[in-house]
Subunit: 316 residues, 2 copies
């Protein structure tokens, strides 16, 4: 169980340490990277010795984030002693990969916004109402009267805008908008950020061209799905966004993406407007949220599809 800190206590703990490791979660997104790198920039300017760890490949679309070159992957078997390890935007300790083995810290601090936070760290600052840890960072900087500059503001703006789908998701609050307004005052260029984030690889668009013709409707158009057959599947091609194509078709309640990652292993992601897809995902050994869930079905894609559609058919 963690001791929950105030913003002032969190700020004081960061200022008290000399040697600091900041770490993102694996599968790094804009929030974990932007929040970590904005904080790193401030702490470096204070003369702190800062290491930034990210135990995963970072998507090229994030290469514009100021300070992205600071991110290092921890090396298996190595050891790094530090005053303070700050785990940012991870709700459980297993979300930081090798960092948990490599870093030996006197103090472990977790800064997060997930309601599912597992309170694994000794100290915790948690704001489950924040749309992003980027918002928590804005609050922290304002509470501590730490200075923003264009780079820090760009980091936190990226963090906020990516985690609320560019202010399109339900987690967008008036405070989210006011934090974003404040960051824009430091010269953040929202169009440069969104252009950088929207870039897709040629491979991804070419894969989309091959996958989109598989669009199929079921249950009078209430379910729509795409299929990546095993011969099309390429682990190096980003296809996470593809489920949005069936999702936004009028009349569709449940959108599904079937991905035959092996001849007899099918990965499934589901999005819904009203149906509880997490219940269906859990029934197949997966999980997720009410309207966004996934599972892996150990069957060839045609069979997986039949099983899942049967389960979903009872709900739509």
């Amino acid at each position: 169980m963690s001791k929950e800190l105030s913003l002032q206590e969190t700020g004081a703990m960061l200022l008290a340490a000399e040697k600091i490791v900041l770490c993102t979660h694996v599968s790094p997104d804009g929030d974990t990277l932007g929040s970590t790198l904005g904080l790193a920039r401030f702490l470096l300017a204070q003369g702190k010795q800062v290491t930034v760890f990210c135990d995963d490949v970072i998507n090229k679309s994030f290469s514009f984030i100021p300070g992205i070159e600071l991110c290092e992957r921890p090396v298996e078997g190595s050891k790094l002693q530090t005053d303070l390890l700050v785990v940012i935007d991870a709700s459980s300790f297993d979300r930081i990969g090798l960092v948990s083995e490599v870093v030996e810290a006197k103090i472990l601090l977790n800064i997060d916004h997930h309601i599912s936070n597992e309170r694994f760290a000794e100290y915790l600052y948690l704001d489950a109402k924040a749309a992003a840890v980027g918002e928590v960072m804005c609050d922290l900087f304002m509470a501590m009267q730490w200075p923003f500059d264009k780079e820090i503001a760009t980091c936190f703006y990226t963090a906020i805008s990516t985690d609320c789908g560019s202010f399109r998701y339900a987690n967008t609050t008036p405070k989210t908008m006011r934090n974003a307004a404040k960051l824009l005052e430091y010269g953040v260029q929202p169009n440069e950020i969104s252009d950088a984030l929207d870039v897709r690889s040629r491979d991804t668009v070419e894969m989309l061209a091959k996958v989109l013709p598989s669009l199929t409707f079921a249950y009078e158009g209430k379910i729509a799905y795409l299929t990546i057959t095993n011969d099309l599947y390429d682990k190096d091609v980003q296809t996470d966004s593809f489920v949005s194509y069936p999702r936004y078709i009028e009349g569709v309640d449940v959108a599904i993406m079937f991905k035959a990652v092996e001849p007899a292993v099918t990965r499934v992601s589901m999005r819904s407007k009203s149906v509880d897809v997490s219940a269906v995902a859990v029934a197949f050994g997966g999980g997720g949220h009410l309207r966004a869930a996934g599972c892996t079905i150990y069957a060839p894609v045609e069979e997986a599809r039949t099983q899942l559609l049967e389960a979903l058919g009872k709900l739509v």
Copy 2:
């Protein structure tokens, strides 16, 4: 030449009239519709006699905007006398279609945010720094202390968020964000708005599936284009967004969409990151902006493609 009004004078003019016609521009977008309908709701609540004219088909995706059922198309040959005609978000008089012939108004007021405004109206409120007329409406309501409710806030939020690409375009300012924050406080659901706006017809996604395989690269990947051949072309299917697929591919500077609307008539739209595509469009008798332009080439699609790529090849 128009007399430019202050917000207070604009508000006073609206309150002084009893019989008011509000009108949107043709090819109505979220800004003209949201701004017009939010203002209409307030004026109706003041007991005014309000007519809302929109001389065009309204895209189904806007059907969620509160008050959308108020929009009427003016009838050719009819006449409507009114105290005040308010033209909203149109920078020239020819942008309101038949409304200019049908309505006989004592006073003509134009509320706009386009820097290219032609000052056609007797009275004008123009804020060329506003991302949307929806922002002007927020300013007007606040200056006049007119009350917002959830419906009015939803109208203006739709107006603002559509005209700044959901806060992703360069016109998004700190003030844009603070106006949006204020509107969210009245219970606007940003996710419901974006879900409604993102909906695409089944036809559009099925057409995309047929068109995307035509993706072709030229000039070492600096140009990418899609082609809708004449046999695929269907005037009833929305394909305006398709050019974004080549546009956001890494390394692409110029993205083009060729549409064979007739066997020997090819419509071209171009988007660019650095090349001045408007110059190329003008050379083919078209026009547009530096980074978004279009033209019609009176040739079969293969020939049109060859001509345009040759012209563009000198620039990339």
